[in-house]
Amino acid sequence: MLMKAVPQTSDRVVGQSSFDVARVRADFPILLTKVHGKPLVYFDNGATSQKPRAVIDALNHYYSTENSNIHRGVHYLSEQATAAYEAARSKIRNFINARADREIIFVRGTTEAINLVAQCYGRSFLKAGDEIIVSAMEHHSNIVPWQMLCEQVGAKLRVIPINHDGEIVMEEYRRLLNGKTKFVSVTHVSNALGTIVPVKEIVTLAHERGVPVLLDGAQAVPHLKVDVQQLGCDFYAFSGHKMFAPTGVGVLYGRAELLEKMPPYQGGGDMISLVTFEKTHYNVLPYKFEAGTPHISGGIGLGAAIDYLSALDWQQIAAHEHRLLDYATDALSSIDGLRIIGTAKQKAGVLSFVFDHVHAHDVGTILDREGVAVRAGHHCAMPVMQRFGVPATTRASFAFYNTIDEIDVLVRALESVLKVFG
């Protein structure tokens, strides 16, 4: 795990001595890009990560040698494509340690996964007066689907507050849990603040009351080893594109027992076993939730990303990313007028910050001219911005292919921001 609490000395030794960042950088062709004549420094990994050659090659290989529709052809190519797609599902099951492949539903991304659960579980099992708990640091995609459900069934959204460091106030969560609570949906890692949420404790407390829990893992899977059985969650949602795979594909993990009880999400091909005009029988899991021809190459690309990640040493990656975060936190803290937003004790590689007198958008434009790609804005988490009383932040988010030298470039670029704005 990426935790600031880990002693720094041992961490730094591991990070410096054994992780070969130059070698992994060579796996990502886009990192050679020049931006406005300067080497690209890609610090927008929280928005989307870059793709290793292995993933790009997998897409090329699929379209060059296997392209076909899946689950329906009797011909050679369809068998090849089906096998490759289903093999990717097994890799994902293994990657997050789910019990069975049928608990792995392919979706477009985290957003669709959450909407699926809100609609299929929520509309079936929640009613007027029931309560749904989210936290104050959710991405809009873990707020709006629940608000829509609340409008549909008359349920009520309750929000766990966060403290000034950007950590969930657990006493408040305990207080919010009551007999009316029927669902809990929280993020595993905050996209705007980097906070690693104590999700295991959140799940345990909800389960004591028999309340199911969804975890939004979009920002967690690229950084942390995720084991859904160990976390004990009922649903886990994540996107491929933030973990070095293509856009447009993501995963909903759900406990089979709950998925079995839920009605399908969309109707169409592949999700049925028998259709007549009188009655339609739905397909078994996971296909019940996978109507229509899916993003086959995306699924295969996600499988390739998992193969790539599995060949890396995650302890070394964690140590390296932790070192990047520590170094950047120290360096940015020493810049005049800069304030870091999100100072939780346990953080993933996300650094959000504001200047007293310079808006995040202006910072983003000036950094871009130095080749540094960051996100400037509300990060689809407007309630977080309101909580900290800022209109927007600049966010640098790291991946394992980033380097200490790149953070030095960021620091110099931030100094040029101050030069422009005096």
Partner: protein, 150 residues
């Protein structure tokens, strides 16, 4: 001058730091809110319109240097103009900001607002500069929905 220097000229930085007409207006008879959903910037424009002439104009809100300076420059430029002149200026400013190839003379028709011409080299920032203009346009038309840059 580099593109960045052209964007952040002294005048723009000055209007960002000390925006003109940056206040609410109690006797405004036209008012509209503008909102950029991309970044969360928002602006409220107040107009006191009399016989088709903008007697007074002011704004409030939060945003980046470009959006604030653009709103400030806009209020200074529109005060005393009639609605038709304001509309014409809006169209020319919009053409200048987006680098509209159909009218490369637009930049010569906007007076002091030429200072914002550097924005067209930064496509991601065009909406910052045009937000206040969309908003005043909505105010003059008396539209009830908030203006957006989308």
């Amino acid at each position: 001058m580099s593109e960045l220097d052209e964007l952040y000229q002294e005048v723009i930085l000055d209007h960002n730091k000390s925006p003109r007409n940056f206040r609410a207006m109690a006797d405004a008879n036209r008012k509209a809110e503008g909102y950029n959903p991309l970044c969360g910037d928002h602006v409220t424009v107040f107009v006191h319109l009399e016989d088709g002439v903008i007697r007074d104009i002011s704004f409030q809100g939060s945003g980046c240097a470009i959006s604030k300076a653009s709103a400030s420059l806009m209020t200074a430029e529109l005060k005393g103009k009639n609605e038709n002149a304001a509309q014409l200026l809006f169209e020319n400013v919009h053409k200048m900001l987006t680098g509209d190839p159909s009218d490369d003379q637009a930049v010569d028709k906007v007076g002091k607002l030429q200072i914002l011409s550097g924005v067209c080299k930064f496509p991601a920032r065009v909406k910052c500069a045009s937000l206040a203009w969309h908003t005043v346009n909505a105010a003059l038309k008396g539209e009830s929905q908030p203006a957006t840059t989308e």
